[in-house]
C-alpha cells in the first residue's frame, strides 16, 4: 500500500527550497504545477540567489521577474507584523533566523497566507513554525514534490524525516518555552 501524502496546491517557499528545486531541476515544473508564493524579503533579497560563477542571479530563479510575470506570488508582511512575530521569540532565537524566514512565519501566523503550507529545509525555521503553534502549516519539500508526481533525490535537509525531526523538536520547545518569550 502506498503511503498517503498530503496534496497542497499552495506552498510558501523558503529560499533554500528554491535553490534546491533549481539545482535538482524541478523548479520550472513546480511553478507550473503548484501555486508558489514567497515572502517579500526572499523576493527582494537578490544577494541570496546571486551566482558568482554566472555573475548574476540565474534567469530561472529571478524571483522578481517571476512575480512580475505572474508565475509566482509575493506575500508581504508589514513591519508591525514582523515586530509582533519577533516578540513571540526570545531575542537570541529571532537572530538565528533570516529575516525572510521571520516574514514567512509572520505570514503564516497572521493568516496572510492561510491556504499555504510553509516549506523550508532549515532546522531553525522549521522549529520556529512549531514553536508558534503552526506545525500543521508546514510541509517538507520531499512531501510536496511527491504530491505533484515529482520524485527526486534530495539533500537530507529537504526530506520528510528531517522535517519531522525538527518539527518535533520545535513542538517540544513550544511546551518548555525554550526560545520563546
Amino acid at each position: 500500500m502506498s503511503k498517503k501524502t498530503t496534496k497542497p496546491r499552495f506552498v510558501l517557499l523558503d529560499a533554500d527550497v528554491i535553490i534546491e528545486a533549481y539545482q535538482v531541476e524541478v523548479w520550472s515544473a513546480l511553478i507550473e504545477r503548484l501555486e508558489i508564493a514567497i515572502p517579500s524579503i526572499v523576493a527582494h533579497d537578490e544577494a541570496l540567489f546571486y551566482s558568482a560563477e554566472k555573475r548574476r542571479i540565474p534567469y530561472e530563479i529571478d524571483l522578481l521577474r517571476l512575480v512580475q510575470e505572474g508565475k509566482i506570488r509575493e506575500f508581504t508582511a508589514s513591519a508591525t507584523e514582523i515586530r509582533d512575530l519577533s516578540n513571540k521569540f526570545d531575542r537570541v532565537f529571532i537572530e538565528e533566523l533570516h529575516p525572510g524566514e521571520t516574514e514567512a512565519l509572520a505570514l503564516i501566523h497572521f493568516d496572510k497566507a492561510s491556504e499555504y503550507k510553509f516549506c523550508s529545509g532549515d532546522k531553525v525555521a522549521i522549529q520556529g513554525l512549531a514553536m508558534i503553534g503552526h506545525s500543521s502549516n508546514g510541509i517538507s519539500m520531499e512531501n510536496f514534490l511527491k504530491s505533484v508526481g515529482l520524485i527526486k533525490q534530495l539533500s537530507y535537509q529537504f526530506t520528510e524525516s528531517y522535517f519531522k525531526k525538527w518539527l518535533e523538536f520545535g513542538k517540544q520547545r513550544r511546551i518548555t518555552g525554550d526560545g520563546l518569550n
Binding site: A15, S40, S78, A79, I82, E96, G100
Partner: protein, 378 residues
C-alpha cells in the same frame, strides 16, 4: 500600531540624518521605488513593508531589531581611530560595530568560551611615558606567550585565546586601525589595504589601547589633543617593543653581522622574518642603539634599499581575509548545532545560498561531512 509606525519613522529618519544621507540617497541605497516612499515612511504616513524594512536597515547599517525594539537602543560604544578615513567614517564604524555584535552572537551560539582575558592596566594619563610602554610590552609578550617572533602568532593568539574580534575593511588610502571595547568584548579594525607587516604593527598598537581602555578612555583621548598625541607615540613604542623583542632582535642581527656591518639584504630579511616593515625594524635598531639614527634615516631613503625591500615583498605577502577565519568557524559551528539558519549563515558570510557550499569549502568546511563524530579524551 499608529504609535509604533511613528516610532519607526522617527528611528529611520534619525539613522538617515546621522549618516548624512538625503531622502533620495536612502531611496536609492535601499532600492525603494521613489523618494516619495521614504518621505512617507519618515512621516509615518505609510506602513513599512517587510522587505523595505530589511533594505532600509541595511542601507542605514542598523540592525532590524534596533529599528523594531520597544525600548530605545543604547548608544553604541566609541570607536577609537588611529587615523580615521576621510570618507564614510560613520558608515564604516556602523558596519564594524555590527560585525562585532554578530561575532559576539556567534560566540554565544556556538558555545565558544572566552578562555582568557587581556589584562586591564591601570595607569595615570598624566605620568604615562615610554618606560610604561617597555614594561607593558614585556608583560603582554610573557602573558600571551608570544615567543621570539611575536608577529607570526599574535593575531591568532588574540582571536583564539583572548576572543579579540579582528575585522578587516577597506578604509581607503588614509584610514588606519581602530579599536573598540563594548558589550561584545574588545575588537580591532584593520585597513585591509595595508601590507601584512603593517597590519601586524596595527594589531600591536591597538592592543595597547585595549589594555589601557579604562585608564585612557576614548572620550578623554578625543577631547585632549596633546594627551592623544602622546599616547599614540607611546602605543607605537609599545608595538615596536612587543613585535621586536630586545633579545631576539639582537640575536638576529648578531647572527648576520660581519665586522660590525650588516647588509641591506639582511636587514630586509630580518624584517620579513619578524613580519614587520623595514621602517619598524630600523627604528627599533636605532632605539636599541644598534645603528645610529641618522644612518637609519639615510638607509630608509636609499633607493637601493627601497628596491631590495620591494623586491622581497611578493614572496611574503598575505592578503587580509575578507571574513576572519574564526568568525566563519563559529558561524559554521552554530549552523551545524541548529542555532543559525542556513540563509542567515549565508548572510553572515556575505554570500548567496548558491555559493555558500564553495565559500565554506574555501575555509575548510564541508556541509555534507559528519562533524558529530567524537573521540574520548583521557
Amino acid at each position: 500600531m499608529e504609535q509604533f509606525r511613528l516610532l519607526l519613522a522617527k528611528r529611520i529618519r534619525a539613522a538617515r540624518e546621522r549618516l548624512g544621507l538625503t531622502l533620495e540617497q536612502l531611496a536609492k541605497e535601499a532600492s525603494l521605488p521613489a523618494l516619495q516612499t521614504v518621505s512617507e515612511i519618515e512621516l509615518g504616513k505609510r506602513e513599512v513593508k517587510a522587505w523595505e524594512l530589511v533594505n532600509i536597515a541595511r542601507a542605514l547599517r542598523v540592525s532590524i531589531s534596533s529599528l523594531l525594539a520597544t525600548e530605545e537602543p543604547l548608544l553604541p560604544p566609541i570607536v577609537l581611530w588611529r587615523k580615521a578615513p576621510k570618507k564614510d567614517r560613520l558608515s564604516l564604524e556602523d558596519a564594524f560595530l555590527q560585525r562585532c555584535t554578530q561575532y559576539h552572537f556567534l560566540e554565544k551560539l556556538s558555545g565558544a568560551r572566552k578562555i582568557r582575558k587581556l589584562p586591564i592596566i591601570e595607569i595615570k594619563p598624566e605620568t604615562i611615558d615610554y618606560q610604561d610602554a617597555h614594561g607593558l610590552s614585556s608583560q603582554i609578550s610573557n602573558q600571551l606567550n608570544l615567543g621570539a617572533r611575536p608577529a607570526k602568532v599574535f593575531a591568532k593568539v588574540l582571536e583564539d585565546e583572548y576572543s579579540v574580534k579582528i575585522w578587516y575593511m577597506d578604509l581607503g588610502e588614509q584610514g588606519s586601525g581602530a579599536t573598540v571595547v563594548g558589550d561584545f568584548g574588545a575588537a580591532i579594525l584593520i585597513n585591509s589595504r595595508e601590507a601584512p607587516w603593517r597590519r601586524n604593527f596595527s594589531f600591536a598598537h591597538e592592543v595597547f589601547h585595549i589594555i589601557t581602555w579604562n585608564s585612557l578612555p576614548p572620550q578623554q583621548l578625543q577631547d585632549n589633543h596633546d594627551l592623544r598625541e602622546k599616547v599614540e607615540r607611546i602605543a607605537e613604542v609599545f608595538a615596536s617593543n612587543l613585535l621586536l623583542p630586545t633579545d631576539a632582535i639582537r640575536e638576529a642581527i648578531e647572527l648576520r653581522s660581519k665586522q660590525d656591518k650588516i647588509t641591506y639584504l639582511d636587514v630586509v630579511e630580518v624584517a620579513r622574518e619578524f613580519d614587520v616593515s623595514t621602517e619598524a625594524l630600523i627604528y627599533r635598531l636605532c632605539s636599541l642603539k644598534l645603528i645610529d639614527l641618522e644612518r637609519g634615516k639615510q638607509v630608509l631613503s636609499d633607493s637601493h634599499f627601497r628596491a631590495l625591500d620591494r623586491g622581497s615583498m611578493p614572496r611574503h605577502w598575505t592578503t587580509a581575509p575578507p571574513i576572519p577565519e574564526r568568525f566563519v568557524r563559529l558561524a559554521f559551528v552554530a549552523y551545524k548545532l541548529g542555532r543559525l539558519s542556513r540563509s542567515r549563515l549565508a548572510e553572515f558570510l556575505n554570500t548567496s545560498l548558491i555559493d555558500l557550499p564553495n565559500v565554506l569549502l574555501e575555509y575548510g568546511f564541508n556541509e555534507q561531512e559528519d562533524y558529530e563524530a567524537e573521540i574520548r579524551t583521557t
